[in-house]
């Protein structure tokens, strides 16, 4: 989610809507402590966000309530492949992912019950007016809210298991592009807007944690795949010439976006009371996403009753490192970094998902008082590798429904979180 999801969303329509989106999903903007530590968390049991990262680890986490918000600030630039119109930019829009979790259980007990709500992202991309790719995408806006209930049990003081049921509580999409049909006397082409709400979908996550000592913890977790589905979304068309109206009669659309499952492995190391080190690796099953297929009802769109656009994503790996240092009992500093590999192949990059290998840097601070209340702040900066594709690449891949050129993206995400321990 995170940064990648934010973009993904863009691209993938609903992709962003799922908690399990991007390879970067483990970072999640869920949990400011985790964000500050490079998005690690599978091998940690810091707080309620464990429900998201590793429900097994949740058994060892303190009980409490936490709520946090972020402001994701994407900056995307595009330069067309051959033409000379120079650099295009987004009409930059910020998005505000949030998360909240609550966890109950006996203070030193073996079990935990919890619940959470999170918006892995909520993506909004508005490309510059008249940009080269306007027949692929002009605007996209995705919002989603996921809910989760979680149970965890420590079988021994060293070993715990946990599971959660996740639900896409709310999701909507607003996708717009121009249509290469123009009316006599008009200076602009026709335009299509597809809007719809996602069906509720249920998934799950599972996790185990092995904690041989206070100095070491190892976690494994799995988050299931979910098919995000919009049924009966609305199609709004403007500027269709009267004589072409017969080719644009569709009233509604259906689309399914397969969201990936995620395998995570994490290690937490505490060499002393003050320092926590964390390492995570994620494998995101993006290869489920082979094509984006729309079916239209009530008629045709552009003369067709359906459309299919190649995606052919590949599974993606991410590696994360993070650290937390307790300066005083109440005050902590955090830092981390990660390397997140692209799931979009060369020649398949779309304006909704200008995906690329990216490196991220994070920092965070935490302040706790009365051993009970606390605030965490985090900051994440992601730098995407420059990604180019030529028209020849698109032709050889059969992906000429997108544009040739070079994308470059950076994302910055400041966030803050408040918590109380029970």
């Amino acid at each position: 989610m995170q940064a990648k999801s934010i973009l993904l969303t863009g691209g993938a329509l609903l992709a962003a809507t799922s908690g399990a989106l991007a390879s970067g999903f483990q970072v999640g903007l869920t949990g400011a402590k985790n964000v500050g530590m490079g998005g690690t968390g599978t091998g940690l049991y810091l707080d309620q966000a464990s429900q998201f990262f590793n429900p097994g680890a949740f058994a060892f986490a303190p009980t409490g309530f936490q709520v946090g918000g972020n402001m994701a600030i994407p900056r995307i630039s595009f330069r067309p492949g051959d033409a000379d119109s120079g650099q295009r930019t987004l009409q930059n829009t910020n998005v505000f992912p949030f998360s909240g979790f609550v966890g109950f259980g006996p203070k030193e007990g073996k079990w935990r019950l919890g619940a959470g709500v999170y918006t892995p992202f909520g993506s909004e991309l508005h490309y510059q007016q008249g940009w080269e790719g306007r027949y692929a995408l002009t605007d996209i806006n995705l919002r989603s809210v996921f809910g989760q209930v979680t149970a965890a049990y420590a079988i021994t003081p060293q070993f715990s298991i946990g599971a959660g049921v996740t639900t896409l509580l709310y999701g909507d999409v607003d996708l717009q592009r121009d249509i290469p049909v123009q009316a006599q006397g008009s200076t602009s082409p026709a335009h299509a807007q597809l809007t719809g709400k996602a069906d509720h979908k249920v998934g799950y996550n599972l996790g185990v944690m092995f904690k041989p000592s206070e100095k070491l913890s190892v976690g494994l977790s799995y988050r299931s795949a979910v098919d995000a589905h919009v049924s009966g979304g609305d199609i709004a068309l403007t500027g269709i010439p009267a004589s072409a109206a017969g080719s644009f009669t569709a009233k509604s659309f259906d689309v399914t976006l397969p969201l990936p499952d995620v395998y995570s492995f994490g290690i937490g190391v505490r060499p002393n009371d003050k320092l926590t080190l964390a390492f995570d690796a994620n494998l995101v099953g993006w290869s489920r996403y082979q094509s984006l297929d729309f079916t239209y009802s009530g008629g045709v769109l552009g003369g067709n009753a359906s459309s299919s656009s190649k995606r052919q994503y590949q599974d993606a790996l991410a590696f994360r490192v993070g650290a937390q240092y307790k300066v005083t009992d109440g005050f902590s500093l955090r830092a981390g970094t990660f390397y997140d590999m692209a799931c979009v192949r060369d020649g398949f990059v779309t304006p909704e998902t200008p995906d690329a290998d990216r490196i991220g840097f994070t920092a965070g601070i935490g302040y706790e008082f009365a051993q009970r209340f606390g605030i965490d702040a985090s900051f994440l900066f992601e730098d995407f590798m420059k990604r180019s594709q030529s028209q020849d690449d698109l032709i050889s891949n059969g992906t000429t429904d997108r544009v040739a050129g070079t994308y470059k993206t950076t994302i910055a995400v400041p966030g803050v979180q408040l918590y109380v321990k029970f």
């Binding site: 600030i73 027949y135 290469p180 049909v181 009267a242 500093l333 900051f379 000429t400 544009v403 950076t410």
Partner: protein, 452 residues
Amino acid sequence: MTTLSFPKTARPALALLGLGLGVAGCQPKLDAANPSPSANGLDFTSYVAVGNSLTSGYTDGGLYNEGQATSYPAILAQQFAKTGKGPANFVQPAFSSTKKDGSGYIKLQVVNGALAPVVPSAANNYLSEQLAVTGNALPGGPQLEAYSGNQPDNLGVPGISVLSSVSSLTGGLAPYGLINPFYERLLTPAEKPTKDYVTYIGQKSATFFTCWMGNNDVLAYATAGGVVQPTNPFGDLTDTTRFGIGYRAIVGTISKGGTVKGAVANIPNVTSVPYFNTVTVAAVAAAFKAANAASPGVFIQTGTAAAPVVRLATSADLLTLTAQPLVAAGAGSLPSNPVPNQYVLDATEIASVTARTTQLNNIIAKTAQRFKVPVVDANSFLTRLANSGIATNAVNNTATFASGNAFGLDGVHPSPRGYAIIANEWIRVINNYYGSTVPQVDPNLYRGVLLP
């Protein structure tokens, strides 16, 4: 909540956050990696375009100001200028503003509930177009308003062939300035009976040229269904001998014997244009069958005027776009009412057009080599357009009539979008050959076919 006071040790972290926020506001810059436009030694300051209707910007069956403005030479001049070595002003022989619609052009209209290309005529008040006709007639069509400016840089003359460019090839018997209204309007009264095209282009001192000639040496024959009017000295397939002499004269003249740099394009396969692929034998046969289940197919007239042959058409025969109203009225449904010869390019005629096109393109290739200029392989390029389409920034442009967007409403000439796509191919070839980095244009900025 009490005011938070951070210990000293927190300051670096806070500074980091502040720095991060600063970084966040920066738009990533990509411009530096873009190859900056460079002419690499080419001099475009006097760019001259030699050619026929395709060069003039002719589209939708006419030459008019809007089409001229999007001619491929105009687009090339605009892109050449971005190297800093381009023409300050690329002159085209535009019509005066009150006669901006020139020779008039076809529009798409809804006729009897169906989209149809409508040709301007007295009966439809010339579609309210502001024509530049004088009322006089020339052998090649209605006379047009004379062009009064300096000799243009775009020397494209609709209808001109290699054969009609050099008067000695026809023994000086067919002075082209008295025949073709698009050429006549460019000449002074004294020049009209005497000055042939090769002389006319020799008046220019080009620093860079493009030349796309030869299309009408096969196209006139093809679009007339292989029927040569005895009164038209330029209606047959041009023979290779005279084509070679004429073509070498043209390229030799504009290149000053190979000392001026430039590029030439060869002759497309004319049978790939929508003009020959929109009214198909199969579709007409199906329509006849629907009206009369016993219909055996489409009857066409072939052979010569002296010995006409009427037979059933096969999928190897092509019907012209202009045959549409005739077959709609029943032509071809009976042996007694075949589709007339001039609306049919039969398999034999196709073979001779294709063979001659190949021969002429070999001459073009050799001539280009001799004068040291690259060849834009328009033949392959337009075949690719017809077979698989050419996508430009997520829009697929094809040779399908009207909806394909690459061709205008006459079915032969590109639309402004099509001309922009062709301009990019010229740029690609020029850049490859000369090592320049002339930027391409976004073809989607140019219109395809506008719908009512």
